[in-house]
């Protein structure tokens, strides 16, 4: 049995805003009977161009119905620009989370919303504009790329959970893999991994952190090779240590200090740390 949250169960058992809005301003429809789920979303705007009324009809499992119901609650009263900011993750979060295998239900909600708004704006988007990657479920490259980006996906299995692509015959798996690789490369370029922000430390904090890092990251590795190390003192950015055990007479101790101990301390404590050996 699926582990649905109470909120999912509530929105499934008591769905909000079921039906079709009369004389709607926009209608969006995604999915199909063959695919196993489908959602028809209709909305009406008030004079201030805010979503005054929104209703849904869904064919699908409990999480599809709950996602649709949640979406309507989330966008009511919003402008279209605001509504378009609702991502599939927001829908899942609103419901207290969805099982990963069911994330495609939240994606379906977001897609229906976009389709309805495009319908209102007179910009019908057809799938012919894009390449259909998964023939079993009719999923395009654009949809897959977007799910990867917005949800930080890394595997074909995840792409299937979020978009259904690849969940049928499996023939498109190599194509999906290629898309993942392409998009992940683009994502890395766009946003280089942020360097961990290093806080300004007081002397006491710094010494504590150095001790912790030595104990956690450095000494166990040295001990594994029969060596050891003691912290003697900290003067500003200078860390004075004494090598013990095998390290004390190891010909590569200089290398150990600079390349290993210093690198680790710079990584975890501060960029300008310098390590010096104190000989007895």
């Amino acid at each position: 049995m699926w582990d649905y949250t109470e909120k999912v169960k509530d929105h499934f058992l008591n769905p909000r805003n079921v039906g079709e809005v009369e004389n709607p301003d926009g209608v969006g429809e995604v999915g199909s009977l063959a695919c196993g789920d489908a959602l028809r979303l209709s909305f009406k705007l008030d004079e201030k161009k805010r979503i005054e009324d929104v209703k849904f009809k869904t064919f699908g499992c409990a999480s599809a119905i709950a996602s649709s119901s949640a979406l309507t609650e989330m966008i009511k009263g919003k402008t279209l620009e605001e509504a378009l900011k609702v991502s599939n993750r927001d829908i899942a979060e609103y419901l207290g989370g969805l099982p990963e295998e069911k994330m495609h239900c939240s994606v379906m909600g977001r897609e229906a919303l976009e389709a309805a708004i495009a319908n209102y704006r007179g910009q019908e988007v057809t799938k012919e504009d894009f390449e259909i990657i998964c023939k079993c479920f009719g999923v395009t490259d654009k949809e897959i790329e977007r799910a990867i980006r917005e949800n930080d996906l890394t595997t074909v299995e995840q792409v299937t959970y979020y978009t259904k692509a690849g969940g049928g015959c499996g023939q498109c798996h190599p194509k999906i893999e290629a898309i993942i690789e392409k998009v992940r490369k683009e994502m890395e370029k766009e946003a280089p991994p942020p360097k961990a922000e290093k806080r300004k430390l007081t002397n006491i904090q710094k010494i504590k952190l150095i001790e912790e890092t030595l104990g956690r990251e450095i000494i166990p590795a040295l001990k594994a090779d029969g060596g050891d190390l003691d912290l003697i003192d900290v003067e500003g950015n200078k860390v004075l240590v004494a090598l013990r055990g095998k390290c004390s007479f190891c010909p590569s101790s200089e290398f150990t200090l600079k390349q290993y101990v210093e690198t680790k301390l710079r990584e975890f404590v501060s960029d300008d740390i310098e390590v010096e050996e104190v000989r007895p």
């Binding site: 699926w2 009977l33 063959a34 489908a38 959602l39 064919f59 499992c61 599809a64 295998e101 049928g168």
Partner: protein, 393 residues
């Protein structure tokens, strides 16, 4: 909330008589049947008795009964143990509607270089025996065809298939996990060489199965180990479960008539009432050749998981061939093989009864299911479209 359990093809309640007979073997009677001392010997006697009861249920010799850990192990052992005995032959015949315990073994063998023929079924889930006849070649190692389908309850003409296969001198295995206890089995007058059953489908606990192997059938053990089960399945006997299964087989033999009268009447009653009360409802599978306890119905334009959860909310336990219930994205391979249209495949519900079900329980389902389907159809975008299209006609 009362529980109405109608998912007996998934698993069954352990019969109180079965539980009772098992209990001493967890506590004071813990001996190993292989031991030389009296303490193990007294247990061995009981294991032998269980083997006789199981053999009696199958119409077999006790020496033809091999206890395993589950139906899946029995199926794996039958297939892999036979192929191992005929390394020169590389062709296997099965069907498109097998349980994964057979189906996925065949897929695995396909990847290992075996040629696998999967016989198709028609819209009612029936096989075409001519297709079987045409598929057999001198390279065919074995044929494995399920006795009755777990999802639809459709019964295959196993003896007829067995005769065709036997005439070619090819070993024949059947997965009878769903059939055992519902269809009379008599291996003495049968063309079956190997047959799998699972304890927990006939009121024994989970974790015990049987592989019947006809005397003289070539077989290499799947679990290689000690001398247990005459060298056909290593591993210390699962004593309490074997003894429990023996009792369950004795009860199943006794209850076979009840399954085919009382249980069948309840199944038919449930089916008739649902068809009467809920429009756009289809029955999946050949109703003339069906297990007495199983009915698979599809409610068009709604999705199975939603139905199950609303039923579950009322204490009713059933199952579905819909995609969403399994975590896969496509409806069951059985319904797809039968060509059930998508409008119906996603909304299939299986009710599988047992001798413990009552007419009151059926009435409870009959009372509560129609409003559930109506409620989901009211939410479904396709139902109104369908009604509109009907109105135009």
């Amino acid at each position: 909330m009362k529980t109405v359990y109608v998912d007996n093809n998934a698993t069954t309640k352990v019969a109180p008589e079965v539980l009772e007979i098992m209990l001493p073997y967890f506590s004071e009677l813990y001996g190993n049947p292989s031991s030389m001392h009296f303490f193990g010997g007294q247990v061995q006697k009981k294991v032998n008795e269980a083997r006789e009861r199981t053999a009696d249920f199958l119409g077999a010799e006790p020496s033809e009964v091999v206890f395993t850990s589950c139906g899946t192990e029995s199926d794996n052992a039958a297939i892999l143990g036979t192929l191992d005995s005929y390394p020169e032959k590389r062709h296997l015949i099965t069907t498109r509607v097998e349980h994964p315990a057979v189906g996925n073994v065949c897929t695995y063998l396909g990847r290992k270089g075996y040629r696998v023929t999967e016989l198709s079924v028609d819209r009612e889930g029936r096989l075409d025996l001519d297709e079987l006849r045409e598929s057999i070649t001198d390279q065919t190692t074995m044929v494995t065809v399920m006795y009755a389908n777990n999802e639809t309850g459709v019964i295959f003409p196993i003896e007829e298939i067995g005769e065709i296969v036997k005439a070619k001198g090819i070993p024949f295995h059947t997965d009878a996990v769903q059939a055992a206890g519902k269809i009379p089995l008599n291996m003495k007058k049968s063309a079956i060489d190997m047959l799998s059953i699972s304890g927990h489908k006939l009121h024994a606990p989970k974790g015990i199965g049987v592989l019947y192997i006809r005397k003289g059938t070539k077989f290499s053990p799947f679990l290689i180990g000690g001398h247990q089960e005459k060298g056909r399945r290593g591993g210390t006997e699962n004593v309490p479960y074997i003894i429990g299964l023996g009792k369950a087989c004795e009860l199943a033999k006794k209850n076979l008539d009840q399954e085919n009268t009382q249980v069948k009447a309840l199944t038919d009653y449930l089916e008739a009432k649902l068809l009467e009360k809920i429009p756009n409802t289809l029955v999946n599978g050949d109703r003339k050749n069906r297990l007495p306890n199983t009915v698979s119905v599809s409610f068009e334009y709604v999705e199975g998981e939603s139905i199950l959860l609303l039923l579950s909310d009322l204490g009713i336990c059933a199952s579905s061939g819909s995609a969403c219930t399994s975590g896969s994205l496509e409806p069951s391979h059985v319904l797809r093989a039968m060509g059930v249209p998508f409008t119906a495949a996603h909304g299939s519900i299986r009710f599988s009864l047992s001798i413990y079900n009552t007419k009151e329980e059926m009435d409870y389902i009959i009372e509560h299911l129609p409003p559930i389907i109506q409620r989901l159809r009211d939410i479904s975008p396709f139902w109104k479209d369908y009604l509109r299209a009907q109105g135009k006609k």
